[in-house]
């Protein structure tokens, strides 16, 4: 009796239909899968000959005299260090420069004002003149004939 009841209950449970997978997921997930597969092939290909040969060639080039390469690297580091220390001094020199005196500033302002006036007068004169309008060549010939 108990078993029968339990079986009925189990049957009721298993009759409940489950949610369906959204159809649009298929394309999206397979696209990601394809991408991964291609990347996987790419990863496997890293052991392929050209890159391996290039690495080996580089290693063969550097390895025979490691001390010589280390010495060269140290020299370059020293050159860079000296270069940077020299560059560091330039802003200090600029900071130490004497600021211009008030007389010089007044003189500069006067010059600027004069220049502004001159440009202004020139512009006013240009505004008074009739504007030149280019004409076709045939019309210019007619004017000359008359």
């Amino acid at each position: 009796m108990m078993n029968e009841e339990m079986e009925q209950f189990e049957r009721r449970l298993s009759r409940q239909s489950l949610r369906r997978i959204p159809a649009e997921w298929r394309a999206e997930i397979l696209r990601e899968g394809r991408r991964a597969a291609v990347a996987g092939i790419g990863d496997a290909g890293t052991a392929s000959l050209p890159i391996l040969n290039w690495r080996m060639a580089l290693a063969n080039f550097f390895w025979p005299h490691p001390k010589a390469w280390a010495g060269l690297a140290a020299v370059w580091i020293l050159i860079f260090a000296v270069d940077f220390s020299v560059r560091d001094k330039s802003p200090v020199v600029a900071e130490k420069a004497v600021p211009p005196s008030p007389e010089v500033i007044v003189e500069l302002k006067q010059q600027q004002q004069m220049l502004a006036e001159l440009i202004g007068a020139n512009q006013a004169r240009e505004a008074g003149l009739p504007r030149f309008l280019p004409q076709p060549r045939s019309e210019r010939v007619e004017i000359l004939m008359t």
Binding site: E10, Q16, R19, I21, G33, R34, A37
Partner: protein, 173 residues
């Protein structure tokens, strides 16, 4: 090209049951989507995973189960550190037209969510995937006896919770 068709075959053959299983365990559609994608990406990247596998379904269920467990544990620690009041869960069941069925499915979804994870997984695989205890044992890496006892405990809890509704529906039939 062969890899692509192989992934398509695997998807068409197993995505639906894996989806249902993952959704039942995680109760989150976005998480289910991520886990499902991770599984198929893994298979695409490492096709050798399936070489020598006798039961593809069992193997994929194991992958899905492990992924879901990892996620649930991560979610547990995340929720402990972060307050997560607005966690909306998705029912693993299709919407029902009959109002009684609708209520029953809602109650069932809620009762399933309260089961311990190990019972939850076994109950799902037995009831909705119709796997034998041997198959469940193989998929979840447990003994058939453990699978059977987990199922029995889980089912008892569901029956206790759903008995009034079940009795009512039985009378109505």
């Amino acid at each position: 090209m062969r890899r692509e068709t192989e992934i398509e075959r695997l998807y068409d053959g197993h995505a639906q049951p894996l989806y249902a299983f993952l959704l039942n365990l995680t109760r989150d559609e976005a998480d289910t989507r991520d886990l499902l994608q991770d599984i198929f990406v893994k298979l695409a990247r490492e096709p050798e995973l399936l070489s020598g596998v006798r039961d593809e379904r069992a193997f994929l269920i194991r992958l899905a189960h492990n992924a879901a467990i990892d996620l649930i544990r991560l979610r547990g620690t995340r929720d402990k550190t972060k307050e997560n009041f607005a966690a909306e869960t998705v029912s693993p069941f299709a919407p029902a037209n009959d109002p009684d069925e609708k209520i029953f499915r809602e109650e069932l979804a809620s009762a399933l969510a309260e089961l311990p994870e190990e019972q939850h997984a076994v109950v799902h695989l037995k009831l909705w995937e119709e796997l034998t205890f041997e198959e469940i044992a193989a998929a979840l890496d447990i003994s058939p006896n453990t699978a059977a006892s987990r199922y029995r405990y889980g089912l008892d809890k569901l029956r206790d919770r759903l008995r009034p509704l079940h009795e009512e529906m039985k009378k109505a039939e």
